[in-house]
Symmetry: C3
Subunit: 264 residues, 3 copies
């Protein structure tokens, strides 16, 4: 659980301070993740090459490493950035997209996990895959549900001393000790490509403005859920849901965020 | 020609089975191609690097190789993926974007053609360029019309034992023996960047759920045309046409697909 | 200042001739820059790799080099393209995204500047950073205002014999001798990611159809401003502003462009 007032505080801070977030993400998510951060009040920068990724992480207030469209130069850039972030005590978020699908993804995620992500944001299958590979889970299930993976997520969070933010029909956020649920959204949201990647970017932005990563991650998912619901009330399909989400985020009342957090 | 009932069958199968399509495509088309596949009911994955492209092709049900924003590592990834797809008898679609423009494009398309694409999807100029380079056509014409290139497309399809899906004001699909036309759409559709690339991805998705690639390709273009028309009825320009296309695809009635196919 | 009739002439030429613009740009801007050029009547091509970038620059009518998501292979491609453009007397536009942020950006911008850009399009901070590094300005200011940087922009334009197109709340365009302002727009436009990058692409397209780069650049920013205002009149946030901008550009009356230019 999260106190609604804390969620409102994170939301206010996000808008008033406009944190600079270095988003090293996949090609598919570039456009939506950057626009979503902008609409929410943060400042995205997609600086990825190893020649500047570490230097830029010194300026950024949070970093995202997303393995959606991997290649060796990008992995080098991610490692350079998260090393700097980790050493400086800045929050960074790992998004292990489709980590169970190939050996290259498993290896890369394992390399990144060594740099102690502040938050791991993924769907239930991805979290289960990471949990299993680190000895904290039971095995891969491509159609896993967040409720079924809750115990694995908690074990993973404890083992790595990280926050796990697992999104799905019901989002589950845990640091191993505390566990929160974020309930709501829109049935058509999964048809918006890279919405999960964008959620990871928003989690990073919230961690940049609030020290408690469990609270910041939960607040980020509540902000996104509240905006999706406002957008969904008027949307006619995934195309309109996407642009209405940007409109909703840019003027989202804090009360809507508090309402989502207060749900049981 | 295609039987309307077959088109409806392909459309139903696309939605009920949600095929996993590996789309190795250009940077410009990433967002729209992924969202269009999602809206249509398929599951896109933009896995491109040679370290995992072949392995992933083993999981995917169809592959797209699109040369829009070429570079050597991406060509390696395309070759790795189509080799696996070809060997496994899985459908794969070549999109030879602007193949006539540079030597590098011509060479890359030639390398890819050796791996026996199930379908080649392009505009009339691109199809003419491929036909010419393989000895099946008469020469390059940057402003070619699909009607004028029909014979070249049929010769190319016969020569390579492939399906040629040529899009334009009137779409022409041929396997060398059978030829179908898909008529309709919206005048403003060419202003949507990478809509052709997205058509290639949808062709791949339909080939994944229906063995006859000629029928599957024709059905894919009919689905897209029907959705464009529904979107166009309400759109005020290329911006609204694009998001309305996503909305239309996500709820497209099969009768609209049948209507497009039934046109003469 | 620019004569409104000249702006209308550039706008008409842009639509009637549909110039081919080679846009070597960052991943975040690919989708919006290509769609914006298409909506405005130009023909974008995102050909970037050194194996074909120079060859393609021989076909294109203008080139953009944008350093937003830099990496060595892309810098090679930019250099290959601008070398050909420069030698052939074709216009090319440098967009020095976040040039002050890292050493790699400063070095790359310096390499590109040696190839004599026709126009440098950036925000006030970026222009100040380039001016400073070439000895034409006073130092970096991350929150610089175009009015405060006008003298630096004029000195930079004179020193490099280029046009500087500096965008912000008020746009300032100068060739060192003449200086024009473009006034107007929408408060929410900065929330649309990569709108500046798209402005650079539109500047290149206008330079392709009108020899006087100062006039062409001013006309480009007036076209964009007029379309943003039309879009903004109906938009509810950054999401709707973006697609409405595409709709507005595709049918923009020349009178709206003339009105923007005529403002004092």
């Amino acid at each position: 659980m999260l106190d609604p007032q804390t969620a409102v505080h994170v939301h206010d801070r996000l808008r008033s301070s406009g944190p600079l977030v270095q988003v090293i993400t996949n090609y598919v998510s570039m456009d939506i993740a950057a626009n979503l951060l902008n609409a929410a009040g943060a400042s995205p920068a997609m600086v990825h090459d190893a020649r500047e990724a570490g230097e830029f992480a010194g300026i950024a207030q949070a970093v995202v490493a997303n393995i959606g469209t991997l290649s060796p130069p990008w992995v080098d850039g991610m490692l350079a950035a998260v090393e700097v972030a980790s050493a400086a005590g800045k929050p960074w978020v790992l998004d292990p997209v489709a980590v169970g699908a190939t050996a290259y993804r498993r290896e890369t995620a394992a390399l990144l996990v060594e740099h102690r992500p502040t938050v791991i944001r993924g769907n239930a299958s991805e979290i289960l895959s990471i949990a299993t590979s680190t000895g904290a889970g039971r095995g891969v299930d491509a159609d896993a549900d967040t409720a079924d993976v809750r115990a694995d997520a908690e074990a993973l969070a404890s083992k790595l001393d990280t926050v796990v933010a697992m999104t799905g029909v019901v989002d589950v956020v845990t640091d191993g000790t505390r566990t929160a649920h974020v309930i709501g959204g829109d049935d058509r949201a999964p048809m918006i490509t890279a919405l999960g990647c964008s959620a990871s970017a928003l989690v990073a932005a919230c961690c940049a403005v609030h020290d408690d990563a469990f609270e910041a991650s939960t607040a980020a998912l509540a902000i996104l859920t509240a905006a999706i619901e406002q957008a969904g009330a008027l949307a006619e399909g995934p195309g309109s849901l996407r642009w209405r989400l940007m409109d909703a985020l840019s003027t989202l009342p804090s009360s809507a965020v508090a309402d989502v957090v207060a749900r049981r």
